[in-house]
């Protein structure tokens, strides 16, 4: 078995070392968290900040740089659609479902006098049951995004703004480095899952945890790029 080069290894310890080695990581994370609070623009800035972290991940792995609002907003404008497009679409579908259910429920209740209570109950059961089914379907649609996230981040930060349009290079990269990709998906998936759980349980803590999770995830994507680059996959910058 050929020895893996140390720098082309997927290593969660290296990805979390940014919190041990870089000075003032706490401040950097808080600044990112505060920026994330800005409505609509916040996530864009954090995604832009991720690009700086990604570049550090490629060259100086143990740096957690601070958010530079203007720079990160500009980078984020180009990179956020490729990374957040899919989840944004899913959240929009789910939001639409909730609005439709809420609106229809309200309408049904207002029509109680005309419909009668019996019919109202039947229609409400249908409405909420259908809504639950739709919610399950949307949940399943998260699977491709979760599985492809590290590759998506890698390609977007490498300058390919919409990798969904051209999946060929990604398939090739994953196929040629399947072991490495499996590792990076497991680690990034766990990081993502932990941040979602913490956000779900402690609400407000999400503000702090989400940028930290994003920093680790981006670092893992940078490691994944080093693996891909080392194997000379065509199309790798």
């Amino acid at each position: 078995m050929s020895e893996e080069k140390p720098h082309s290894r997927i290593d969660i310890n290296q990805a979390t070392a940014i919190f041990e080695d870089s000075q003032g990581w706490f401040k950097s994370a808080w600044v990112a968290a505060l920026n994330a609070l800005i409505p609509f623009l916040g996530p864009v800035v954090v995604i832009g900040w991720g690009r700086a972290l990604y570049e550090h991940g490629l060259t100086e792995p143990n740096q957690l740089t601070e958010v530079a609002f203007e720079r990160d907003l500009n980078i984020g404008k180009d990179t956020a659609p490729g990374i957040l497009g899919w989840p944004a679409a899913l959240l929009a579908i789910d939001g639409l479902r909730r609005i439709l259910v809420w609106g229809t429920g309200l309408l049904l209740r207002q029509l109680t006098e005309h419909l009668g209570p019996d019919l109202l109950v039947q229609l409400e059961v249908l409405l909420y049951g259908g809504s639950r089914l739709a919610s399950w379907a949307v949940t399943l649609l998260w699977i491709p995004w979760v599985l492809l996230l590290p590759e998506l981040v890698r390609r977007v930060y490498q300058g390919d703004a919409f990798p969904w349009q051209n999946p060929g290079p990604s398939m090739l990269a994953i196929k040629m480095n399947l072991d490495g990709y499996q590792k990076v998906v497991v680690m990034s998936g766990i990081v993502l899952g932990v941040s979602w759980i913490v956000s779900g349980v402690f609400g407000w803590l999400a503000l702090f945890v989400a940028p930290l999770a994003w920093a680790v995830l981006v670092h893992l994507a940078a490691q994944w790029h080093r693996v891909v680059a080392d194997h000379g996959v065509p199309g790798t910058v």
Binding site: D118, L119, I143, Q182, K183, V185, G189, G193, W196
Partner: protein, 243 residues
Amino acid sequence: MDIKPKQTPYASPEATPAATTVDIGQAFSYMTADPQWLNKVVIMGLVTLIPVAGYLVVFGWMREIFERAKEGRQELPALDFGTQLEKGIAPFVAMLGPMAAMMIGMFGLQLLMIPFALLAEATQGTAVAGVLGALMGLLGVLISLVMFVAIFAISAVVPEVMRRGMRGEMMPILSPKASIVAIKNNGGAFLMVLVGSFAFNMISQVGVMLCFVGMFVTMPLAMVGMSHLLAQWDRVAGDPQAA
């Protein structure tokens, strides 16, 4: 370290002397038979954290345990993300089948009520409305009863659906005859499977009481026992295709 496949009577459903029984004790012993069980179980516990996709992988891992237990191998499979993700699709889809069927059935029954409700509204204040009201009340009770029985029945057949999913069948719900025959002919053994699955479900929940984090050990550990139990049940029930 590689663990060589080892034939042990307690770990192998094939080696069980009586081919018509399911032994819950064997499934419990199997959970910790692999010297590296804790590592593997904790890793799978962490995998369950991966949003949505983690469950597919865990289903695939259970399927590998099921296959190994049938071969009499006591070592638990290590995480093999790609393979287990692929293997997990069949049991995952198989489990969705009964739930979807129940939801569709409920929709059908509710739709059945709508014409009566419309008629009752149109004939409000007449004697017909009274009759319709009574009829709807009766139908409502009937629907509740059907739903209660359906929920109970679906909970009861989950292990059988899971077994067939582990065999790679995605839609066992479309060919229920094989399952009905297997359960009918081996009622005692299936009852043991239900008792066992209840016990493993309890084990799975214990972790929640241990500051929630314990669940990442108890949940996959219970899955190991459950997979072995299903492997035993598979030996008793036999090949659904043959049935």
